[in-house]
Symmetry: C2
Subunit: 207 residues, 2 copies
DNA sequence: TGTACATCAGTGAACGCGCGTTCACTGATGTAC
DNA sequence: TGTACATCAGTGAACGCGCGTTCACTGATGTAC
């Protein structure tokens, strides 16, 4: 239908010696598709070729196939997630402030990168990507520590663990439910996060 | 690959006058695909035909096309959701018990019908299905009322609304986060629900 | 009771489409001599 | 300075596949007479 009118700009071939630049462009296009569709199975060689402005066979000079690209894009998504969310740890900030910053960064990542968040945290098949998600595990460990400190309990205690699980569940709910019901009159994110922390007993004391 | 070995049983043609039975079988197959994939875009005429044991063109005697089937399957999913979850309202039960029963039914529906829940509550594109989700709205209205009663506030108050939103978010988190991280050592559902109600101040008083 | 006919519940073959993948190739650019 | 050559960054044509969809058809079953 709209294949005739190609919205993607034409492309100059890379100068000699800069051939590897194309692999960067390919991954970028793959990431773009995931961002827009929220579904890794929508990433196709043809669509990537169209967006980059090359012919599909050119991709095989840089990747072994579609799975290769997909895997690298998802790995890159985890890296960006880790960079964005974990980078909120300010040295010297109070535990309350650190947990609040984490919660904000988590929800913000989901809002700004809806498709990536979906692929990382709401994907259909968990099987093909075995050992990624280290970033999630690292986040959770940090969360348990922070939560334990605020609640005044041991980091290995059941209380700390339960509270961290509870916060994670709430943050995921905040991140993923509103986009599915866009016509509902949702409170803004700051208020949702505030309420979640308050419910979990992690809210900063007034003053 | 595995197309050669068909795992679906052969099929007798329907007796004369029972032709409409096929449309039921087709919808059932569509529903089965959604249950297993959690993705409405995986519903294909070919796959349905394979599962039902007919040729693909036969489907056109009963439906106008793939969108027709998909729409009816999703509508049926909402109906089943409404039946299963709303049916938990026991007349004469306390408000605490009613909210608890709702929470349990909600999470249980998500567990027993993972694919349906995903299509109803975690789908990619909200646009093509405009005015379904009445069941969700009805549920939420009931939830606000119940929550208001427990908290001792007006049903139209901000407190009641915020608490209902908070519980909905938590239930969606409980329903959707654990399946994505199956290797994590999650508490069982009852405990997650209990914690959510406790956090929201909706837990039944001891005794 | 027998036979012609209508109806019903589907099939088989074919079409164009987009996809992943292969293969031989092309044309520009640098380098050796 | 000129020319042959190697290399690099890709292309075009072709393949088989599964998909949605169309069309003419087939074979079993009931019904009129």
């Amino acid at each position: 239908v709209s294949t005739a009118e190609v919205p993607f700009p034409p492309r100059r071939r890379n100068p000699r010696g800069q051939g590897r630049q194309l692999s960067v462009d390919i991954l970028q296009a793959g990431r773009q598709i995931i961002e827009q569709t929220g579904d890794e199975t929508r990433v196709s060689l043809s669509e990537i070729a169209r967006r980059v402005g090359i012919s599909a066979p050119s991709i095989y000079d840089h990747f072994t196939g579609i799975d290769d690209i997909c895997g690298q894009v998802v790995a890159g998504a985890w890296t960006e997630y880790a960079r964005t969310v974990a980078a909120t740890a300010e040295v010297g900030a109070s535990l309350h402030a650190q947990v609040l910053a984490f919660a904000r960064a988590y929800v913000r990542f989901a809002r700004e990168h809806w498709g990536l968040y979906r692929v990382l945290y709401a994907r259909t098949a968990p099987s093909p990507m075995p050992d990624t998600g280290d970033a999630a595990r690292a986040d959770f460990a940090r969360l348990v520590t922070g939560v334990a400190g605020i609640l005044g309990v041991e980091p290995v205690s059941e209380e700390a663990w339960d509270a961290a699980v509870g916060l994670w569940i709430q943050l995921h709910g905040i991140a993923s439910l509103p986009p599915v019901h866009p016509r509902f009159d949702w409170p803004d994110d700051e208020r949702l996060i505030d309420a979640a922390l308050r419910r979990s007993g992690l809210h900063a004391p007034a003053g």
